[in-house]
Symmetry: D2
Subunit: 346 residues, 4 copies
């Protein structure tokens, strides 16, 4: 039985980790860390866990935690883990970080987009970017996982098969993304109030969103060339779900069938990526509460562009689900353990 | 392995049965019945089942189905099953009916409130009302289960401990209920369109809703006296969830603690009923996607009334989840098999 | 032209006042008061007013404000106005207070339910409760208006015709109310976040909500006897709207037609109260954005109870709209001036 | 007083026309046409008009109607008006058509994208495309107005200033649009049910949506060159609102300020177009219920692309509001008459 500690258990991603791990037969949570609710009953913060979790929230003593558990999930603000993580901790426990601290290899890029100094740049190189469908092999032997951002996960998986083959002109790539509001976190801020979000849609972080360099880094790796994109996220009045609509000009001459076939080939062995039949566009509802990413494409011969679409649950595959998938890989468990979640409709 | 057939698999309750049974280790669905989508791929109707269900929808040949399966779930319009169910079918397979056809013992009451003639009244007596927490013993030996309505399930469990003890004046009982829109079904009707339901709340079926006599019959059985109530359902702009707020005058003299203790005692062995701590009112979000019913009470000494509250997911505990719970009881399986669902937040 | 000052213009009710007064031909806002946004452009806080309002937010200097305007609207936290209002201010300008400070005549009741000391109890007696359909005459000569709470407005108007005639047993009255989330204000609090409210319904303030004594005081006045009720508000995932479902036992013998006729008579001259035809239950959507209250009743002869229903927009008739209606009465303008708003659907 | 007839008054756009015209001092509706509800009270279909409209719904006898009114609004299915409109009718009354029948000058393009034969192609040339900010002069003398589609209105106004100046490469233009659900109409279809739309987002009509050639025709006119674009609409779980996010490569060298200045110049005299300050992205909530279009841009020097954004209410400026604006222009009234609507928040 893998002993698990969570730092940041009372955020939306943190409590989703709890939901998933309660159904995982080889893992047991022994530390519910939450700065804001320390000494309070975890189930008093998230009533869904009434009678399922009796634990009291603990603090964030990472050193002590590392002694007690096999793996630590950190669902913490940017910069937090980078400020306290040490070689010593990594020698004692695996660390799967849901923040952005170790996702970007070039520390100056991180510091520029996040506007904070990185306190442990020496650990960045070792960290493995935990997008399992892309970096599976490296993940299996990692001590430190940089669990991907929600937008980068969905964007990368939606574009990868064509980027990999060089079938799209990466200089023309535009990613227009739409996210449910849980992606904004559980902080008490006016823009996230029900009456501000409900019956409204807007773009935000236009040309400046922090997930941009992360997507670019992954797509550069996959395409084998430096990639610079436009990425525009939008806030949608729903709890969960991310939809990516990406556009690129097709290189050379490819039929829609050929383009589609690239997805079918690349994802035929991937349980969590579902290539939809025919022209069916992905819908976030079809993946809600699960670790699936649904993808499909449409080729427009009028403009010689391909529209690449992906849908997933931002706090499952986009955060907690992928973190558990990483844990499974690291500990040599079946990749789907605890993640055979059937999407919930309606 | 229990072989399962579903008639009405493409309604909201039907497809929830599929979601639950896919995670049930002792059951296997072999018949996805759907009049409207016969010969179409089930997963093309409900995209959440892509790659999880490959089956094609079949028709509603109950006789043939009874030969092939151990248990039949019928999630069909009122009057449908009563028109085709026979002794012969019941000899071959257990039947768990999610419609109202066999819920009400007095056929004249059924015919009055539903406005249709009952075609197989002789089978009513045998049918067991499948509210597991109330009729567990009878369910275990039943051939035909009348799976309870969503409102009656939540109303009965919210009121039962005090009704059973005679601690409330049943003549004063008022049940004000609020439901998500999935309770209205998947029929293409103008009042259920997004733009009609969203940003709106209204009462409906005021003093005439068909679940009224069903609640009254169960509470009469529990209270040991004829019960007549006011029941008012409301339509809430959300997908899932039912909330019951019930009011009654307290008989004799009871403290809030005594009243609460009745719930704690009655439900201490019930996995699916959670009596909330302190004054916490139930919220539908805390039970979403699970088979739990959360209950709590508040005594108001100013009026000598007790406010009894219950929350559950209308298509899980209120329909498909309870149906699986009934199946488990009939087949001697652990009652929670396939139903250890952690509620999903947010 | 009436000169208007608003204290608390950047709350939901405050900015609704702005929306309404921009369409009022005899009023002009000259002071947009907002503690949190002082010196910021009002339209930068509420983008809907872009190009319509160029003003900068000012502070809350009530004395200076009283010199500059004819009427002051205060949409401020409980206790605020009571702490600074003086005879001198009332000599200079009319005050319409949207908080609860002067609504309850018995100061000890106010202090008990609100848990704060009242700092200007001597002004309570003079204040007129601004429920125009009930206290029209007194309002016309008032200097200080206690603008009613949203729940009390809807509850009182839904019950008044039967309470007035003694046709219902006031000891049996139960008010079950449902409100959109704007009623919770614009404060940055976790329980009001989109992901906490959306896809959820719950009761709150059960048996303890502060609007209870306010409803009781008005109904006592109307019924001519002391009234004690159960009042239970619920939070609904929508922006605007309040729905009241009230229950009471009918005194003596009255047909549904007689009961309905009471509403038709009492409200025949009331522009803002619409008695719906036949059995149509009120829906909040039908009144959204307007100053209307829609009411209807249903008599249940099985229980001898009448179900009284009312729907209105909580921040229009339940706050800012009624405040403007009060202003019109005080200044001798047509009561509907600026309030001939057609409800917006969908 | 202009006498108005509406065919299709019980659709969402039709009833919005009623809402707007009730507040128009120079227009009076004398014919509420509705095929589905003929002889029923209009206010019984849309309860928001209770006590405001007493009229009974009439049929669709266009000839008779033309005798009785000055202007006819048709909010009817595609192909309907083209099948019955005649020179004779146009001689008797102005016609403002909210369907697509006369929007596209090349009848073969219309027939290809709409899949229906056009029954009165001879009238297409005369019809004026009623995008007031672009074709104001022609509208003033028109008999037949092709009222623009919602997506084309928002897309065209968001892109026009840069297209007009040749400052963007029209071959690179991509329009990613998001719409509230009222755009799908009031037909009883499963995909528009609350439980299908709520908590979900998806693209639809990818590379095939009928508004594509309409946008292309307008932008070709403005840019002075043939324009072919990618246009992808998405369905958002909200009632009202359209958001456009458009991307294009900048021609030559232009600063963000220069690009922004183009919008400020072009729209300085346009009451209904609001160019937002600074980097504020448009939000649909800020225009809800009004005839405004909010626009803004962001230049990304990393990719040399400009992101052009626009937000409006799809059934006001995107349908009924623009139709009234056209009526005002035709009849020589102030363009804003009846349309000085303050957006409603929240």
């Amino acid at each position: 039985m893998i002993k698990v500690g969570i730092i940041g258990a009372t955020g939306y991603a943190g409590q989703e980790l709890v939901r998933l791990l309660l159904g995982h037969k080889d893992a047991e949570i022994v530390w519910y860390g939450s700065k804001s609710y320390v000494n309070q009953k975890f189930a008093s913060v998230f009533g869904n866990f009434t009678k399922l979790v009796d634990d009291i929230c603990k603090g964030d003593d990472l050193d002590r935690l590392a002694d007690e558990v096999d793996v630590i999930f950190t669902a913490t603000p940017q910069g937090y883990l980078a400020g306290i993580l040490t070689e010593d901790i990594l020698n004692k426990a695996k660390v799967i970080d849901l923040s952005a601290d170790y996702r970007i290899k070039d520390v100056s890029v991180y510091e520029k987009w996040y506007g904070i100094e990185h306190k442990s740049p020496s650990l960045i190189e070792e960290a493995v970017y935990g997008l399992c469908e892309i970096h599976r092999e490296d993940i299996q032997s990692a001590r430190l996982i940089a669990n991907p951002g929600c937008y980068p996960t969905c964007s990368t998986l939606s574009v990868a098969p064509l980027a990999r083959r060089g079938w799209i002109d990466m200089k023309t790539l535009i990613v227009d993304a739409k996210s449910g509001t849980s992606g904004a976190g559980r902080g008490a801020k006016v823009p996230n109030l029900f009456c501000e979000v409900n019956e409204n849609i807007k773009a935000y972080g236009v040309a400046t969103h922090r997930h941009t360099p992360e997507i670019e880094e992954q797509l550069s790796y996959i395409a084998g060339e430096p990639v610079t994109i436009n990425f525009t996220p939008h806030l949608v009045p729903m709890n969960r779900g991310i939809l990516v609509t990406a556009y690129a000009t097709v290189n050379g001459s490819h039929t829609e069938d050929e383009l589609k076939q690239a997805y079918i080939e690349d994802y035929s062995d991937e349980y969590f990526v579902r290539v939809l039949d025919g022209a069916t566009p992905p819908e976030t509802k079809w993946v809600e509460g699960s670790n699936f990413v649904d993808v499909n494409i449409k080729y427009d011969q009028r403009t010689n562009r391909v529209i690449m679409m992906g849908a997933m649950d931002n706090i499952t595959k986009g955060a907690a689900g992928q973190a558990v998938q990483n844990m499974n890989l690291i500990f040599g468990l079946p990749e789907q353990e605890g993640l055979r979640l059937v999407p919930m409709v309606p």
